[in-house]
């Protein structure tokens, strides 16, 4: 798919239908499940709304195609890109060039006046106006020396020349009138228009479309910013809670895997003259979700540890019987920190300052961690408890003590391992995942919330979602 598009080669069959199908194809390649029935629905919906209004058009498509919030986010990203590219491809095809008209109005404008107009448009949130002004601004400033050629740089340059910044706007000394401050969102919207128009400009000049790339994995993956995707993690975890809680219920009434209570069966058989007509079953004891979570916070998992901490944070909101530990070289219980503090940032800070888990080197020592873990709480582990390890299994060449890990696994009812590295990297370098994996009830790669949901699915006895 990411082949460079030539202007002629990518024309495709004409008409909106083909374009829409292409759009759905692109959505599929990004992992949105778009079925044929969805496409049919989309066409049916489009018969009902006017195509000339972009909002209606987009909402109608979104309502029929994007069936979750995550899908919707991808939809928005791709919608913009796809239809922008399509329009540009058509423009190149037909040789439409707007440069001439644009420059006519460009240089006559006074910069101060332009600045004022832009501010006005941004504050009013008038999209059409912003777009026109972005064009004017590019014509006014971007022309000198044809810009830097890098769109991002040009956007910032023009923004600075216009003297726009978010938040507390320092008013120019001479303008006495108080200015309404522009907030970040509004400014971002203007920047988006600028970027769009600069790209259009570039395409016009070179008359080729830049290659389309799949969305960067980072665009949609690892929540590195704790507050931004905390909600997603919380959602996955609260799902997990529900699934663990309803596990027992699902089996109720199905007699699945129940064992016969011999004593009561014999007792009941007295009624039928000693023939055991009615079987009596042992009542099922629901599993108390007693969970131990061990979380690696060393430098090798820095990027993932924020994610892991937010998982921990969310787990603490959901489970009462949860004890959490962080480790690097030694292990330290942090249950209290999570229980008494709600603000995620404070938690992260307290753990890094008082966890006391780094000893000398700051490198993870899994072997020692197992020994300490077993020593500290081995008496409390029982077949009803679940242990979840969050870590990359990179021992930095130290003794992994897989045998000790095996003991932990033996005592605990279930043991799961979540590894922040893609499966591809397991067992490369100093990763000893294989040594531990065979003692786990399940080992999962876990670096996106989607993986987390997958893990929840499996834990709850469901089928793993296809990646």
């Amino acid at each position: 798919m990411p082949s460079p598009y030539g202007p002629k080669a990518e024309a495709g069959p004409p008409g909106l239908a083909a374009k829409l199908l292409g759009f759905c194809e692109e959505l599929r390649s990004e992992g949105v499940a778009v079925g044929t029935s969805e496409i049919l629905d989309a066409f049916a919906a489009l018969e009902q709304v006017p195509w000339t209004s972009q909002d209606d058009f987009r909402e109608a498509l979104a309502a029929t195609i994007a069936k979750s919030q995550e899908d919707r986010r991808l939809f928005e990203l791709l919608f913009e890109r796809w239809f922008f590219r399509s329009a540009e491809a058509a423009a190149i095809e037909r040789g439409i060039d707007e440069t001439a008209q644009r420059q006519a109005g460009g240089d006559r404008l006074d910069i101060d006046e332009l600045r004022e107009q832009v501010r006005q448009a941004i504050i009013e949130g008038n999209e059409g106006e912003m777009r026109d002004l972005a064009r004017l601004a590019i014509a006014a400033f971007g022309r000198q020396g044809e810009g830097s050629g890098v769109v991002g740089v040009d956007v910032q340059r023009i923004r600075r020349t216009l003297g726009l910044s978010a938040g507390t706007q320092a008013p120019a000394e001479d303008s006495a009138a108080e200015q309404v401050p522009i907030d970040r969102d509004q400014l971002n919207r203007f920047e988006r228009h600028l970027r769009r128009e600069l790209e259009r400009d570039l395409i016009e000049r070179t008359s080729t479309l830049p290659p389309s790339r799949p969305l960067a994995e980072l665009d949609r993956a690892l929540p590195t910013n704790p507050t931004q995707d905390l909600a997603a993690v919380h959602r996955a975890v609260s799902q997990m809670k529900r699934r663990l809680a309803t596990l027992g219920h699902e089996q109720r009434g199905r007699r699945r895997g129940q064992s016969i209570d011999v004593r009561r069966t014999m007792r009941a058989s007295l009624e039928t003259g000693g023939v055991p007509m009615h079987l009596r079953y042992r009542p099922k004891r629901p599993r108390r979700p007693e969970i131990y979570v061990l979380c690696d916070v060393s430098t090798s998992v820095t990027s993932a540890s924020v994610f892991f901490l937010s998982v921990l944070h969310a787990l603490h909101d959901s489970f009462r019987k949860l004890r959490s530990f962080v480790f690097i070289e030694r292990i330290s219980e942090v249950t209290d920190v999570f229980e008494h503090e709600r603000d995620f940032r404070v938690i992260a800070k307290r753990i890094s300052s008082e966890g006391g888990v780094a000893d000398v080197s700051g490198y993870t020592d899994y072997g020692r961690v197992w020994l300490e873990f077993l020593g500290q709480i081995s008496d409390e582990l029982d077949p009803r408890s679940t242990v979840i390890v969050l870590g990359d299994a990179r021992t930095n060449g130290r003794e992994p003590h897989a045998d000790v890990f095996a003991q932990v696994s033996e005592r605990a009812g279930r043991l799961f391992w979540l590894n922040p590295e893609p499966k591809l990297y397991w067992n490369y370098g100093d990763s000893v995942m294989a040594a531990y994996e065979r003692y786990c009830d399940g080992a999962f790669e876990c670096w996106t919330t989607r993986h987390l949901e997958n893990f929840v699915n499996v834990v709850a006895g469901g089928v793993p979602a296809a990646d």
């Binding site: 499940a33 079925g35 029935s37 969805e38 629905d41 049916a44 919906a45 009902q48 709304v49 909002d55 209606d56 909402e59 109608a60 979104a62 309502a63 029929t64 994007a66 069936k67 979750s68 919030q69 919707r72 507050t227 905390l230 959602r235 609260s238 799902q239 529900r242 699934r243 309803t246 219920h249 699902e250 909101d317 709600r342 603000d343 995620f344 949901e453």
Partner: protein, 293 residues
Amino acid sequence: MADGSVAEVKDALAQAGYLADESAALVSFLAQRLGKPVLVEGPAGVGKTELAKALSRATDRQLVRLQCYEGLDEAKALYEWNYRKQLLRIQAGGEDCWEDVHGDIFDKEFLLERPLMQAIASPEPVVLLIDEIDKTDQEFEAMLLELLSDFQITIPELGQVSATTMPIVVLTSNNSRELTEALKRRCLYLWLDYPGLEREMEIVRLHTPELPEALARRLVEVVEMIRALDLKKPPSIAESIDWARTLLLMGAEDIDRKTFEQSMSIIVKHRTDIDLVAERVGVKLAEPVRPQG
């Protein structure tokens, strides 16, 4: 409700006391035109259920509501045979031959209609609200599939019951569990989120017209500030409205620190949340103006 265009649907909803945003109006419009169920998702308290109610008011249709909960089964959602009445019939029949009785007791007369059946069998078109579908289990969802795609229910003893009129179906979900693909595939999807400042203000003003505009604006700003915090339960739209009414009753003229502390419990309902909100938002408000002298 005239369903000529999206704008008309929006107006009709507004007249029914629901200020829909663009996408909500469009999806409601499509739902009526295409006859497809709507799956509404979003955080608690953004007016998902209210949308269905407003639709029923705007279209003058009766609202049939099925509240889902864990352990909801067909007998409570679809239909149930009224076995007591059946027993009575058998006893009263006395000497009748079995064939007659058998034919008799599996008759519409002995059927107890539950919400889904009611919606399908109703001679008048209705709005069917299936609330909090995520609370049920997957088996129940699977059972809904026949209903949602063909608007019919199969009763083994009676045969198929098909809808004579097309109901508008609204399903709501708090997203506490991922719904199955099969269910989603049959629905239009609508994500409702907390409204923006302006729209929430319109909503508050619509429900408490007596509240001065300046105060309403202040209220909405404070609520937005609170939602930005990481709370266990952020305040819902309904709670903003409740708060507005409370302020009216209190005769407050501005939201200063004192009024806020007194009435905070209307919008924040968790012990830990209350502390956090008092600490973060309370201090930003002005001290109450002390009366002179």
